[in-house]
């Protein structure tokens, strides 16, 4: 009974042959869009003089800041693809930061990463037991895990870190770094090029340098995890089975898939990835575990996953975008202000595109919004950091509000399922 009610609530209006859903963009389109974005960015940087928009420092920081968000989002992706909503990502991320800090202090950063992922997976196991075995509402269980994650880590910190050198009841002692790698021989020439201040050339040099020099090994692992997730979930039999549990567990069961096992696996991996993201936060971005280090990144990860339409590529783009705004804010307030101009210009471009496609209402609304941003840019000198902090959340709300027809979450996401319920 609840199942039907929730199914109706979850999918307003049964989908009668989806009307011209946008085909997923291919590689050429993505690359072209990215190139276009860089050109616009260079133009903005040239107009406003905000070099930080494309500097290697900003890009490097953006990549690093995107990793925890992306890993939390990837965790959400695994879990939701198997039909289990995971609001507990924040709690699992927190568990990961503590695990990373504690094991990192005792046995070095790489063990810290491992233990952080394991702590996250432990949170995932709890979530799986509650939601899969006992059929508890997924969101309730997630909320409880967030409370537990916070409580457990704070409790353990007092025991583990009080009295350690440089540590205390709310932070671990400082931990050594994970080594960084660069593409050899590329850093200095690019640096020189960046300093020349040539339009576009210097900008591209800055971006390339940010992406190739001084990249933490752990960042590479994270990128591999995104690619690996795509491969495992979309190119293997295991992945097909796992995703079938998120679309229609009854059908999957009728084909002999062990739905419980798949869901357990998915939620465990989900927790592990979130824990990895937490460990990254503690070991690469931070200098060890600190209380409140996650700052709601679990939820931003969830937002990135929705932004990316429950797919790894879109998710990575979302995480990159949110990481970029974060990084800009850290680097320079001038560049953040230039972001207003960027958004305004992008909106106007989109409105022209919509007008060409004869979508008059959409074009008008976008145009007005674009003008508002341009006026906002012209009328102010700075953008308060609290406003930039909102960016990921507002973006997600807007995407949900205006593109929800294009979003497609797994059909049985969040619905209760019991073995044998298909009869």
């Amino acid at each position: 009974m609840t199942a039907t009610a929730q199914a109706v609530a979850g999918a307003p209006g049964a989908p009668p042959a989806p009307k011209r859903r946008l085909a997923r963009p291919g590689w050429p389109t993505v690359l072209l869009a990215f190139a276009g974005f860089i050109v616009v960015l260079s133009v903005i940087a040239a107009i406003t003089g905000a070099d930080q928009l494309t500097s290697s420092g900003t890009v490097g920081a953006a990549v690093a800041l995107a990793v925890p968000i992306g890993m939390a989002g990837l965790g959400g992706l695994w879990s939701e693809r198997a039909g289990v909503v995971n609001i507990g990502l924040e709690g699992m991320l927190i568990l990961g930061t503590w695990g990373g800090g504690w094991a990192g202090y005792h046995w070095g950063p790489w063990v810290g990463v491992l233990v952080g992922a394991l702590m996250g997976a432990a949170g995932g196991l709890l979530h799986a037991i509650a939601t899969v075995t006992f059929g508890v509402d997924h969101i309730v269980s997630g909320v409880a895990i967030n409370i537990l994650g916070l409580g457990v880590t704070q409790y353990l910190s007092v025991i583990a870190f009080e009295g350690t050198p440089g540590g205390g009841e709310s932070q671990s002692p400082p931990i050594g770094d994970i080594s960084e790698v660069s593409i050899p021989g590329i850093g200095d020439p690019l640096d020189e090029l960046q300093d020349k201040g040539w339009f576009l050339v210097s900008d591209v040099a800055g971006i390339v340098r940010g992406l190739t020099v001084g990249i933490s090994l752990l960042t590479l692992v994270a990128i591999l995890l995104v690619v690996g997730t795509y491969y495992v979930l979309w190119r293997t039999a295991f992945g097909l089975r796992l995703r079938s549990c998120g679309e229609s567990p009854v059908a999957a069961e009728s084909l002999g898939v062990n739905v419980y096992l798949m869901k357990y696996a998915a939620v465990l991996v989900s927790g592990g990835l979130a824990g990895f993201g937490g460990a990254y936060l503690a070991l690469v971005l931070g200098n060890g575990y600190r209380e409140g280090q996650t700052g709601g990144r679990g939820f931003i990860g969830l937002a990135a996953m929705i932004f990316g339409n429950w797919r790894p590529g879109g998710l990575a783009a979302g995480a990159g975008l949110f990481g970029y705004t974060d990084a800009l804010q850290l680097r320079s307030s001038e560049a953040v202000h230039a972001l207003l101009l960027l958004v305004g210009v992008l909106l106007v471009v989109v409105s022209i595109w919509l007008a060409v496609r004869r979508r008059v209402v959409g074009a008008a609304v976008t145009f007005v919004a674009g003008v508002v941003f341009l006026v906002w840019y012209a009328a102010t000198d700075t953008l308060p950091e609290q406003i930039t902090n909102m960016t990921p959340y507002v973006t997600t709300l807007l995407v949900l509000a205006f593109a929800s027809q294009r979003l497609r979450m797994p059909a049985a996401d969040g619905l209760p399922y019991r073995r044998g319920q298909g009869g």
């Binding site: 006992f134 508890v136 269980s141 409880a144 409370i147 409580g151 704070q154």
Partner: protein, 378 residues
């Protein structure tokens, strides 16, 4: 026949026993877990519990618990209104903080005779809470956006928005490096009640509002047509539609109501506290505690009151743990465990009662058949 023995008047004893057993089991289970955590970290369990109990009996702690309980109760009510309608208002947290902040700004900007001043402040809070919840409701009704996601986002936006606006309007709080809104005049103070004997700490007068809200919740949901429609929509949307209920309208109204009640959550602290200002250290996260309490109390007005008191009592008595060098975060572990185990317990009880019911019916049917079989030849 067999049901008659389990009934006294209108009260179904078996159902009552089952509904008490689940939370009792959950609390017991979380006590065991907490005990295990204490043991594994080398703290004495029994003497700790004894100390907590001794400390908790002091009048001051009881008054503190009741005060915190008032806040928790209002938060749980706000969550429960959504729950009854199958809506998950995770946004109570953002709603009450934004509401309390706005009410503090408005209330601090002028002075009026006492009842009027308080009324305006409370109304502003309810309005702002409802408005913030209304965004999620509008998104759900017009665009089909899940309220879970939108309220999570709105919570985060509220945090940034408050930080931004507090920076604009803030004044220094006397005697600290904290900043807050302009304090509300004495006319905005909600008088306390010396409810607990021997305690120098008064109980928030707002407890009366909370009790009234609880009664209203119970009556409106249980005894009015609107409440029936709301619960029906929560149980089965198609059935509600079939009986002529506009689901969209119900979503909008219940979300607005939930937000309005959420607006009350910050009021006991704001109007009943000493400083009457919204400062950086205004309590946060009460919305999530509200979810836990609503779950433990099963959305029942009385049940939630007991759960709220249990949670606030745990909070208040945790102070003694810190003094004894036991991290008081053990209370968070305990609360989290209670939530998780109580929902699991309810689910198990639900499954058990379905099976028990099926057995009972099939037994009665079998008995019926036997009687018929014997009756036919005669």
């Amino acid at each position: 026949m067999s049901t008659a023995t389990a009934r006294f008047g209108r009260v179904d004893v078996r159902r009552l026993a089952v509904s008490i057993a689940a939370p009792a089991l959950a609390i017991l289970f979380s006590l065991i877990v907490t005990g295990l955590v204490l043991v594994s970290s080398g703290d004495p369990v029994w003497s700790t519990l004894e100390q907590v109990w001794e400390y908790a009996k002091t009048p001051r702690v009881i008054a503190l618990s009741v005060n915190q309980g008032v806040t928790y109760y209002l938060s749980a009510l706000a969550v429960a209104i959504g729950f009854r309608m199958n809506l998950f208002n995770i946004g109570v947290d953002g709603q009450y903080r934004l509401a309390a902040f706005s009410a503090a700004v408005v209330g601090g900007s002028f002075s009026l005779p006492k009842p009027l001043h308080i009324t305006i402040i409370v109304l502003v809070a309810m309005l702002v809470g409802a408005m913030w919840a209304g965004i999620a409701a509008a998104l759900k009704v017009t665009r089909g956006v899940s309220e879970v996601i939108s309220t999570i986002m709105l919570n985060a936006i509220a945090t940034s928005l408050i930080a931004f606006m507090l920076g604009k309007v803030a004044v220094d709080v006397a005697g600290s490096n904290n900043i807050g809104t302009d304090p509300i005049d004495e006319t905005g103070a909600f008088p306390g009640i010396p409810l607990i004997p021997d305690s120098e700490l008064d109980v928030y007068g707002f407890i009366l509002v909370a009790i009234a809200a609880g009664i209203a919740y119970s009556v409106v949901l249980g005894r009015t047509r609107f409440g029936y429609d709301l619960r029906a929509t929560g149980r089965s949307e198609p059935a509600a539609v079939a009986s002529g209920v506009s689901v969209k309208r119900m979503v909008l109204i219940s979300m607005l109501l939930s937000g309005a009640v959420a607006g009350l959550v910050g009021m006991p602290q704001l109007l009943g506290g000493d400083s009457r200002t919204y400062s950086l250290d205004f309590p946060a996260g009460l919305g999530f505690t509200g979810i836990a309490i609503a779950l433990l109390g099963r959305n029942n007005a009385v049940g939630m009151a007991f759960s709220a008191l249990l949670f606030s009592f745990l909070d208040a008595s945790s102070i003694i743990l810190d003094i004894n060098d036991i991290s008081k975060e053990i209370v968070l572990i305990m609360q989290g465990t209670i939530v998780l185990s109580v929902v699991i317990a309810y689910e198990l009880v639900r499954r058990y009662s379905i099976v028990a019911e099926q057995r009972r019916v099939s037994r009665e049917l079998a008995a019926q058949r036997d009687v018929d079989a014997e009756g036919v030849p005669a």
